[in-house]
Symmetry: C2
Subunit: 184 residues, 2 copies
C-alpha cells in the first residue's frame, strides 16, 4: 500500500480527481490531500465536489509520501501562483518518486522547472507551454517517462489509472526511493 | 473612434472585461465581441456577467478592427485550445495594431508564438510560461512594448485602461496600420 499525496485546490476537474482517487483507494492506497491550507474545503469546477485539505504544501516533504497525484482543471494554475506547492512538486519530481499528472497538471511541473528533456502529455491548451519548457509533448492517452505518468483529459482516465497503479506496483508502494526495502 | 475586437469566451475574469469595456465605450470606441461561435452567450467566472459573441474568430481578420482587447480569467486558456482564435491573435499582433492583454491573456500570445523578444506582464502564474516563450516578464502594473499593452491583475485596471486609451489616441483609432489616413 502506498501513501499518495494529492495536490489540489479549488476549480479542479471533478472527474480527474474522483475517478483516479476511487481507483487508488480501491487498490488499497491511502490518499493525503495537500493544498494551500490544512482544514480548508476546496471544490471542483463542474460538480463542486468537496475535498478537505489534510496538509498544507508548506508543511510536507516528498519523504512523507510514496507518490504524487496532481488532478487537472484550473487547480494547478491556482496552486502555481504560490511558492510552496511549486517547491513541493520540484522536490517530488527530483526525489524520483512516482508523479501522476493529468490535464493542466503539467503547469505545476513547468513552474517547478523540472520538464527539460522529459516526455509528457497534457491538455492541448498547455502543449505549447510544455514544449517551451523544454519537454517533448506527446499527444497520446498516457505517457510514461521515468517516474512521470501523464495523460491529457478525462477520456484518458482508465489508461492513466492503469499506468499509475502499475507504477505503484512496480515501485512497491513508492519504495523505489533510496532506502527501498526491496533494494536492501 | 476605434473598433475594438474583444476576444472572449466563458470563465473570463468579470471585472477585467466589464471595467475596461465600460471605459472604452465611454471614450467613444466600439466593441465587437469575438469568440468561438457568433450568437452564443458566454459568462464570467465570478459574477456570471453575460456577453453575447458578435463574430466567430474564424470569421474575422485583423483588418476588420483597430485594436484587440483580451480579458483574463480562464477565457484565454479555453480559447487557445482552438486554432482560430490563436491564428487571429497571431495575425493581429503581426499586423502592428494595438493589442491590450491582461492577466491570463498572454497565454493566447504564447500559443500564437508572437512573444519572442517582447516585454510583457501578466498574472504571476503565467510568468514562467511567458519567460519560456522567449519574452521578458516585467512585474509592473502596466507594460508597453510597441503595439502591446499588458497588465497583471484587476488592481492594475486603471493603469491598463489609461495606457490602452493613450495608445488608441496616439494611433488615431488604430489607424497606425499601413493604409492609415494620417500617413497618406
Amino acid at each position: 500500500m502506498s501513501r499518495i499525496a494529492v495536490l489540489i485546490t479549488d476549480m479542479f476537474e471533478d472527474v480527474e480527481y474522483t475517478r483516479p482517487a476511487a481507483a487508488f483507494r480501491e487498490a488499497g492506497h491511502e490518499l493525503v490531500h495537500v493544498g494551500l491550507s490544512a482544514g480548508e474545503t476546496v471544490h471542483g469546477k463542474k460538480e463542486q465536489t468537496p475535498v478537505t485539505i489534510d496538509r498544507a504544501a508548506s508543511d510536507v516533504t516528498p519523504e512523507d509520501f510514496d507518490a504524487l497525484f496532481i488532478p487537472g482543471g484550473y487547480s494547478p494554475d491556482k496552486l502555481r501562483a504560490h511558492d510552496e506547492p511549486v517547491e513541493f512538486v520540484r522536490r517530488f519530481v527530483e526525489s524520483g518518486r512516482p508523479v501522476f499528472a493529468i490535464c493542466h497538471a503539467p503547469q505545476l511541473l513547468i513552474n517547478a522547472q523540472v520538464l527539460r528533456g522529459r516526455k509528457i502529455t497534457g491538455w492541448k491548451s498547455v502543449a505549447q507551454d510544455i514544449r517551451n519548457a523544454g519537454a517533448e509533448y506527446i499527444d497520446r492517452e498516457v505517457v510514461i517517462d521515468g517516474n512521470l505518468v501523464s495523460s491529457r483529459q478525462p477520456e484518458d482516465i482508465p489508461a492513466f489509472v492503469g499506468a499509475s497503479l502499475d507504477m505503484l506496483a512496480r515501485t512497491g508502494g513508492g519504495k523505489a526511493r533510496p532506502a527501498a526495502p526491496q533494494s536492501r
